[in-house]
């Protein structure tokens, strides 16, 4: 099996200024700034096979963006090695540029004040695309990403969802082999998120594309990726398929009930009470046997319920659940 990316014992530490407390702290930090080391990625190893789609999941500050930056070559690991198609990315930035596409959810690669089309024209020039290749990819992406309507509109007038679709198209216009997406759905509403996921699924199925996608939303990964890596505090805590993760986490979901009147402790069979507020209680549905029907039947007799919902676990809860449910899987 050929690997698109091999990450081997990679650590990244940042040196950050450590502002001292107190009234004279600013003075000290001006004269002799105290530096502190922060480990954003800690001794991490994994491989990504060609054609795979890998979800890189973790809470805020887990080191996801740091890892993406190292894999794309714009950040150098403090120790360990990364190989992208057999080459260290930060040493072969320009050659790799032709083979990778990168989207940072919180940054734009589009020419802000100009129509979308101009950014594409610039990319065509920078990546030395032939007219034929450019037109073919453009037509495909315009259609799949539904960009036609705002193709001539200035980027700053676009909605976040439209902008993200344009960013995706721009990252794909030069037919990269590997696509890096750093939180591509961040800040989008549910509908726009859904659109982005659908498009990524389609492109993944139609093109031989390796995708690395970071997110703190399990839903993104569930719909797009076949493999999951979960990181927390810079450390790898899970690596495997979605099915393995599911098996390890159990079918955990969260039940949230809102009450009209202050209500005391209330037990519901098949769930664990995890947050006991007078007006809002949270339950963890852990048991496979607990069906929604079962829960509904129990709630039926309780008056003063204003609302209830069953929610996906947040990334923090997933992390907890992975820790709780035993062995941290570390493949090498």
């Amino acid at each position: 099996m050929e690997f698109a990316i091999e990450v081997c014992n990679v650590t990244k530490t940042y040196k950050i200024a450590n502002n001292r407390d107190g009234n004279t702290g600013w003075f000290h930090s001006l004269v002799k700034p105290e530096r502190k080391e922060l480990t954003a990625v800690s001794d991490l190893s994994f491989q990504v096979s060609t054609g795979d789609s890998v979800g890189y999941l973790g809470p805020n500050g887990a080191g996801k963006s740091t890892m993406i930056k190292m894999m794309t070559g714009i950040l150098v690991p403090t120790s360990g090695t990364i190989e992208l198609r057999g080459r260290q990315p930060h040493l072969h930035r320009k050659e790799n540029a032709q083979h990778i596409g990168v989207v940072f959810g919180q940054r734009s690669q589009l020419w802000w004040e100009l129509p979308v089309v101009d950014s594409f024209e610039l990319h065509k020039i920078m990546y030395s695309l032939s007219n034929y290749c450019y037109e073919r990819n453009k037509n495909y992406l315009l259609q799949v990403l539904e960009i036609k309507n705002f193709w001539n509109q200035s980027v700053r007038q676009l909605s976040l969802g439209q902008r993200m679709r344009a960013e995706l198209a721009l990252a794909l216009i030069h037919e990269p082999k590997i696509l890096f997406l750093d939180e591509p759905t961040i800040g989008l509403d549910i509908e726009a998120k859904e659109a982005v996921r659908k498009i990524l699924r389609q492109i993944q199925s139609e093109r031989e594309l390796t995708i690395i996608l970071t997110s703190h939303d399990l839903q993104d990964i569930r719909e797009i990726c076949s493999k999951v890596i979960i990181v927390n505090g810079g450390e790898l805590i899970f690596e495997g398929t979605l099915d393995t993760l599911r098996a390890q986490m159990g079918p955990e979901r969260r039940l949230v009930i809102t009450f009209a009147k202050p209500t005391g402790e209330l037990r519901i069979a098949g769930t664990a009470l995890i947050s006991n507020d007078k007006f809002e209680k949270h339950y963890l549905i852990q048991d496979r046997a607990t069906s929604s029907g079962n829960i509904l039947a129990q709630l039926k007799d309780i008056d003063n319920i204003v609302d209830f919902s069953v929610r996906e676990l947040t990334i923090e809860e997933i992390v907890k659940s992975v820790y709780r449910n035993g062995s941290i899987v570390k493949c090498s």
């Binding site: 794309t72 070559g73 150098v76 990168v102 940072f104 940054r107 101009d118």
Partner: protein
């Protein structure tokens, strides 16, 4: 690739910039103000000496150095370097298969060609009907002027680029812009020709690269420099280009290292 980016940048200016009328008017107003000051000086006859240029030569110098060759908004470059540093986009620019400084140069050449062709040349044409304006006497000086113009803009870009990169370590983009805005007209001998500056400032200004941006091109245009000296100056300008390129490569190397190793 370089020329394609220049062309694209020029086309983008043509397509979306509609402020050229105000640009032409403001260039004319500024030139008229400069000429008016010198008209007052010439009335007092202070400058009567064999070395002093005629009033029409002075007018031509003011128009060529102030309106034509320096018609470039360097603030745009400094701001885009500053912005990409502050927002962390500098790293993103490393992801493209082209060196960022080269991309910036191509883009700014496009902007400059637009400014010169659409704003400065019409303004110069109007001013040339209004005031006594000299056209080059000799073909050789005309050709040399074009060479100096080219070298001068390259130096202008490189100086702005250097100042822009300094924002990474030194101060705010505003301070840098002000500094450059203050230095440029004096050291490039635009409002006050360099031979009128007090020594040792005059000698210093003749050696510093700013002189190649405005002063030498206009003096060449007027044929006020002997051909032999002109060639030496041209070589001097090319040496400055080389020196600035080295300096910028060094800073650029440091900047990318800072961003890729320390993360900004």
């Amino acid at each position: 690739m370089f020329l394609n980016i220049v062309t694209l940048s020029f086309k983008v200016n043509i397509a979306y910039r509609f402020d050229f009328i105000t640009g032409i008017i403001s260039e004319i107003v500024r030139a008229v103000a400069r000429i008016a000051i010198w008209a007052a000086v010439y009335e007092t006859n202070i400058l009567i000496s064999s070395a002093a240029p005629s009033f029409s030569q002075m007018t031509t110098h003011l128009i060529i150095s102030g309106t034509l060759v320096t018609r470039w908004e360097f603030q745009g470059l400094i701001r885009s370097i500053d912005q990409s540093v502050k927002s962390g986009d500098l790293s993103i620019n490393l992801l493209h298969p082209i060196d960022y400084p080269i991309y910036l140069f191509a883009r700014e050449v496009g902007n400059y060609i637009y400014s010169v062709a659409i704003v400065a040349l019409p303004a110069v044409l109007i001013l040339s009907f209004w005031f006594d304006f000299d056209w080059p006497d000799k073909f050789s000086y005309g050709l040399l002027f074009v060479a100096f113009w080219f070298v001068g803009f390259t130096i202008f870009f490189l100086i702005a680029c250097l100042f822009g990169l300094l924002t990474i370590w030194l101060m705010t983009a505003f301070a840098i812009e002000w500094l450059l805005e203050a230095l440029m007209p004096i050291l490039a001998g635009i409002l006050v020709p360099l031979w009128l500056l007090p020594e040792p400032l005059a000698t210093l200004a003749r050696i510093l690269p700013f002189a190649w941006i405005g002063y030498y091109p206009s003096q060449i245009y007027l044929g006020r420099i002997e051909l032999g000296v002109a060639w030496i100056l041209l070589v001097g300008g090319v040496l400055w280009v080389g020196l600035l390129v080295c300096w910028i490569s060094f800073l650029w190397h440091r900047a990318t290292k800072q961003f890729t190793v320390h993360g900004g």
